[in-house]
C-alpha cells in the first residue's frame, strides 16, 4: 500500500519557514494571504496489503521517527497501490 503522511508544526509554534514564504509571497504581490504554514509530506510505499496492518505500521513509523511529538502533529492517508 501507499501511505501519504503529512507532518505539520503544532498550532501555536512559530513557523519561521512558513513566515518567510508568506513574506516572499507578499513581495511578489500576493497580498490577500492570512497565513502560510510549511510541513513535510512523506510518501511511503509499503509492501502490505492488509489495510489495518499497514495503518498500524504507519502510525508506528510516525510516532517513532517521522514526527517529533514535542513540536509536530501528523496525519496520514492510505491507498492501495
Amino acid at each position: 500500500m501507499k501511505a501519504k503522511i503529512y507532518v505539520t508544526l503544532k498550532r501555536g509554534i512559530h513557523d519561521p519557514q512558513g513566515h518567510a514564504i508568506h513574506q516572499s509571497l507578499a513581495t511578489l504581490g500576493f497580498e490577500a494571504i492570512n497565513e502560510v504554514r510549511l510541513g513535510k509530506f512523506v510518501e511511503v510505499d509499503i509492501e502490505e496489503h492488509d489495510q489495518e496492518k499497514a495503518e498500524a505500521t504507519v502510525k508506528n513509523m510516525c510516532d517513532k521517527l517521522l514526527a517529533n511529538p514535542v513540536i509536530e502533529n501528523y496525519r496520514y492517508e492510505l491507498f492501495s497501490s
Binding site: P16, H19, L65, L66, N68, V70
Partner: protein, 233 residues
Amino acid sequence: MNVGVISFPGSNCDRDCHFVCNDILKQSSRLIWHQETSLKNIDLVILPGGFSYGDYLRTGAIARFSPIMDSIIEFASHGGLVLGICNGFQILLEVGLLPGAMLRNTHLSFICENVSIKVENADTPFTNQFSVDQILNIPIAHAEGNYYADSTTLSTLHEHGQIVFRYCSGNGTLTNESNPNGSLDHIAGICNQTRNVLGMMPHPERSAEAVLGSTDGILLFNSVLNTFEKSES
C-alpha cells in the same frame, strides 16, 4: 579522565573535540563509532557537532536510533557526564535526555560567527570554572538552533536552574539583536535536573586555543576535568 567522542555518520566536529581533549587538555580520548555499544571506562561522553545523517528529516532524528544511544541513556542515568554540542544537543533533545525541541533559525539561514553568551548556572559539572553572569565569546555555527519548549517545560527549566547559557549582548544584556536564532528565552544551553547532561549550541571546542581567537571554551573542558578529579580524590 577518559573521554569518548561519538562519531555518527555525518558528525564533523568529532575530530575537533577529540583534538581538544587529547592535545589541549591532555586527557585520554577516543572516537567511538555509533555502532559500538560499550562505554566502559568512559568518564565523559561528547556528542559532537555536525550533520548526523545529513540532518535529513530533522536534526538528530535519525542519529538518536544509533546503537550507542541506549548505552548513553544508561550511562547518563547513572550520573555519567554527557555533553552535546550543536548537533549533539539536537540529538539529546530528540532522544529525550533533555527537554524541548529545535526549530529553524528565525532568519532561516545558517549562521557562523562569534557570539556572546552569559553563564546562568556556574554550579554544574560543566561550568564550575566560570562565574555566574560571566560573558563568553564563543562561536556558533548552525541553521537550527532556535530552541523551543512549551511553557510548562520552560518554567521547570527555570525552577531547577537548568538554563546554563543564554545569548546576550557584549555587555550582558538580553536583547533581540543578540539572540542569533530566535531561541526561546535566549537559551543557548541547558542541562538536565541532575546536572550531568548538558546540551549547548555554541562550540566550546572552537574557542579553546588562542590561535583560533578565543580561549573561553577551554574553561568548560577544565570544569569537567575539575569535576572528574574531585570525584576521584
